[in-house]
């Protein structure tokens, strides 16, 4: 079928291929709609939408397509039919990961093929007691013919990792695995040559197959989490509008900006660079950078920072610093220092391997020496028994013990909207005893909410809402929300409305001028209603006193419950915020957090965490802003919401996508349970070894027993890991 032509099939021809991320895919007919619409465009030769990754692959027609212009056209076409498209920024490490996953799949296919065919021969070997020696020898030779090349290919992931580990003079789980595979194959070949009865081809290949399944699923889960995290980041703007000297505007990729260029930022957009305002007036929301919630009025000559939000009014910004001196660079510097201070975490599987591998090898050696000294079977038979011990100690159960749990845990979290970014994140999260929260954007939504609605007459609120309805200013939207909550109708006024950027709105209703906006706009003197706590709006009706509308950042719905949950479980909870101390103390009081720090600069946050670390605390840091990024790297383990700044998402070990904060509790519960299951798995593997090893050491091991032991122990640890799906997760 010609339709099943994947992006790859035209990828390999080497033609230029562009990837787009499409937002808003919800139904299968989107495929037809998007592909159909784009296919009509002559600039596009081929297009293919991948519903799983939500990415669109486009192949340009012609020899030297104008990629930038074409990309814009694709995004425009997508917009016309109702989808948001973004140019996908390729991540070379993800491509590398893809390749590795593909190789694992190939290895798995080969191991599976070899296992099935060898089993066919082995089962008849075990069952056919009346089989002639020649037939048996023939079967063994065929098995060897399949098993040796198959293991040479399918075993590479383990052999490579084992070699790397040995070169670094340490032992990981792949060392005993590789050794067991290689030795059992060698022994089997020896047996085959000598016409012996016991060969272990099936056990060796089965071991590889089971472990490869685990590896592959693990990699797939992690790739999935990473590509989703990467998708989130592509939603950010990649180009800026630059204003040329003669006043024209053109699009320019952010990477290509130079100092002294002037960038125009429309209201409601994020400011892409550090710079100085050269024209325009607006309020700038710095919360992602400083944690400060009230938008700051900024005008000619004021400095603005990359990542902040331009609330109202267009701004022209002269780019000042691109590298070395931006606020971002300062933060990255802090992050790197913090990162160095973080002790390297040794994963549970590696810890286990460090005990397990030497123990097993010593045991095998003891078996060999024992037989040589205390019996008369000769060195050959002694060696065979020693190898049998190595095979039966079953690296299979141990090799699967951690990855299987990890897979089940990550997929459970994924379904709950939590991405596990760091491979060892789950293990670290299970060990925490302290939780540090950022305020803005973490405990709060970073969206304002009206604070004094009950003091305002409903008629005034209705009037204010009728003006606010048309505006996109966050405070105006908060007004509308407040009116909805109080069943106050919010119908936009039909009178002509005038909006003054950075000031407010004005309209004339029933012959009276009505103004909604800041203090200056409504001509309210500074000495009335002194206010440093809240964001404010004023409503001024001609001939009446102005009405004060106070706004504050809104707490996430379940913030209090989440904090209480951690406190009840005996965790220390602290609050570190860059916002003003009086706001921070009020939030802390509301949530029952006694340990808090306001007006904290990134360095202050790190200092605080370092101090706790020195006391032996293991801290979970939850934060979103750019100012939290260094603290996220300094903590033991870290979580960010998906609304966090790019740099914080990069630093965080986990990312949660929901509006609710209870994701953090769930992530903790899952990680705690995974830890328990990993230990039960270790215990199961140990018990199994205690039972099986004496048999092998006594020389009673047959290939049949080895095959049964290997598969049953694998099934046992897998089933145990699946118990994670039964855990009830907390819901606020």
């Amino acid at each position: 079928m010609a339709v099943v032509k994947s992006q790859d099939s035209f990828d390999r021809k080497g033609t230029p291929l562009e990837h787009f991320l499409v937002e808003g895919l919800h139904c299968p007919s989107c495929i037809r709609e998007i592909e159909g619409a784009l296919q009509k465009n002559p600039i596009i030769k081929n297009v293919r939408l991948n519903l799983t990754t939500q990415r669109l692959a486009v192949e340009w027609s012609g020899d030297s397509p104008d990629v930038a212009a074409n990309s814009d056209e694709v995004i425009k076409t997508l917009k016309d039919i109702g989808f948001n498209g973004y140019l996908f920024k390729d991540d070379p490490s993800a491509a590398e990961g893809d390749k590795e996953g593909r190789w694992l799949l190939i290895c798995m296919g080969i191991a599976g093929f070899a296992m099935m065919n060898i089993m066919l021969l082995s089962v008849s070997d075990w069952a056919g007691t009346d089989m002639g020696d020649q037939t048996r020898g023939f079967f063994h030779w065929i098995s060897a013919l399949i098993a040796l090349p198959a293991s040479a290919v399918a075993g590479t992931p383990f052999f490579k990792s084992a070699y790397g580990s040995l070169k670094a003079r340490s032992l990981n789980m792949d060392v005993p695995i590789s050794l067991a595979v290689i030795l059992s194959l060698l022994m089997s070949v020896m047996q085959t040559l000598n016409g012996g009865a016991d060969t272990y081809y099936d056990a060796a290949v089965m071991l590889l197959f089971f472990l490869l399944i685990g590896r592959f699923l693990d990699r797939k889960m992690r790739n999935h989490a990473r590509s989703t995290a990467h998708n989130l980041m592509s939603y950010r703007p990649s180009s800026a509008i630059i204003v040329t000297e003669n006043g024209d505007t053109t699009n320019c990729a952010i990477e290509l900006l130079n100092t002294e260029m002037v960038v125009r930022v429309a209201p409601g957009e994020r400011i892409p660079v550090d710079g100085v305002i050269v024209s325009g007036t607006s309020e700038v929301d710095n919360s992602l950078v400083t944690g400060e919630t009230i938008p700051v009025k900024s005008t000619l000559g004021d400095k603005v920072f990359a990542g902040t939000m331009n609330v109202n009014g267009a701004l022209d910004i002269r780019v000042t610093a691109l590298s070395g001196k931006t606020l971002l660079d300062e933060i990255i510097g802090l992050m790197e220092t913090a990162e160095q201070g973080r002790a390297k975490y040794v994963r549970l599987a590696d810890k286990a391997a460090q005990i397990y591998a030497p123990a097993v090898h010593l045991l095998a050696l003891a078996t060999f020496l024992g037989w040589i000294i205390f019996s008369t079977v000769g060195w050959e038979q002694s060696l065979i028994t020693a190898i049998a011990v190595l095979i039966i100690t079953c690296p299979c159960a141990l090799g699967l013990a951690v990855p299987v749990v990890q897979i089940v845990a990550s997929s459970r979290l994924f379904k709950n909207g939590i991405l596990v970014k760091a491979p060892d994140g789950l293990e670290r999260l299970a060990e925490i005893d302290t939780v540090a929260f950022d305020k803005t954007g973490t405990l709060t939504l970073g969206q304002p909410e009206i604070a004094n609605a009950d003091d305002i007459a409903p008629a005034d609120l209705e009037l204010a809402a009728s003006l606010a309805k048309t505006s996109t200013h966050p405070l105006c939207r908060a007004l509308i929300v407040a009116s909805h909550e109080r069943d106050i109708p919010t119908i936009a006024t039909t009178s002509p409305l005038h909006e003054e950027p950075g000031m407010g709105l004005k309209a004339t209703i029933d012959g009276k001028e009505i103004r909604l906006g800041n203090r200056d706009w409504c001509h309210v003197p500074m000495n009335i209603q002194k206010n440093t706590r809240y964001s404010e709006l004023w409503l001024k009706v001609e001939g009446r006193d102005a009405v004060f509308l106070a706004f504050q950042d809104r707490l996430r719905k379940d913030a209090a419950e989440v904090v209480a949950w951690f406190q009840n479980k005996g965790f220390d909870v602290l609050l570190l915020s860059g916002d003003r101390p009086d706001v921070v103390s009020e939030v802390a009081e509301k949530l029952g957090i006694s340990d808090y720090l306001g007006a904290a600069k990134p360095q202050d946050k790190i200092d605080r965490l370092e101090k706790l670390k020195a006391e032996g605390k293991k801290i979970l840091m939850v934060g979103d802003g750019m100012n939290d990024a260094p603290a996220l790297s300094a903590s033991y383990v870290s979580i960010s919401p998906s609304t966090a700044s790019e740099i914080s998402q990069n630093a965080a070990d986990f990312i949660f996508q929901s509006q609710e904060l209870d994701s953090i509790v769930r992530a903790y519960q899952v990680s705690k349970m995974s830890r328990k299951l990993v230990f039960t798995n270790f215990a199961l593997a140990a018990i199994y070894n205690v039972i099986a090893v004496p048999f092998a050491a006594a020389g009673f091991l047959t290939p049949l027993i080895a095959a049964i032991a290997m598969s049953s122990s694998s099934i046992l640890v897998t089933t145990n890991a699946l118990r994670l799906n039964l855990v009830k997760l907390w819901k606020a």
Binding site: K5, S6, Q7, D8, Q39, N46, T52, T53, F113
Partner: protein, 53 residues
């Protein structure tokens, strides 16, 4: 037992055929989009042709 002489090669050949089919399907990218493929089957034939040129 003489049957084994050709039965085993046949079994191996079939196994290899399966392995080959698996590797081919993977290389041609049939595992890239597991969700979309199930819906594509439902599209009308002429619409597919139009969009596939």
């Amino acid at each position: 037992m003489e049957g084994l002489i050709f039965l085993i090669p046949i079994a191996l050949f079939l196994g290899l055929l399966g392995l080959g089919a698996f590797l081919w399907s993977m290389r041609s990218g049939q595992y890239d989009d597991l969700e979309g493929a199930s819906y594509r089957a439902l599209f009308e034939e002429d619409e597919i042709k139009k969009s596939d040129k």
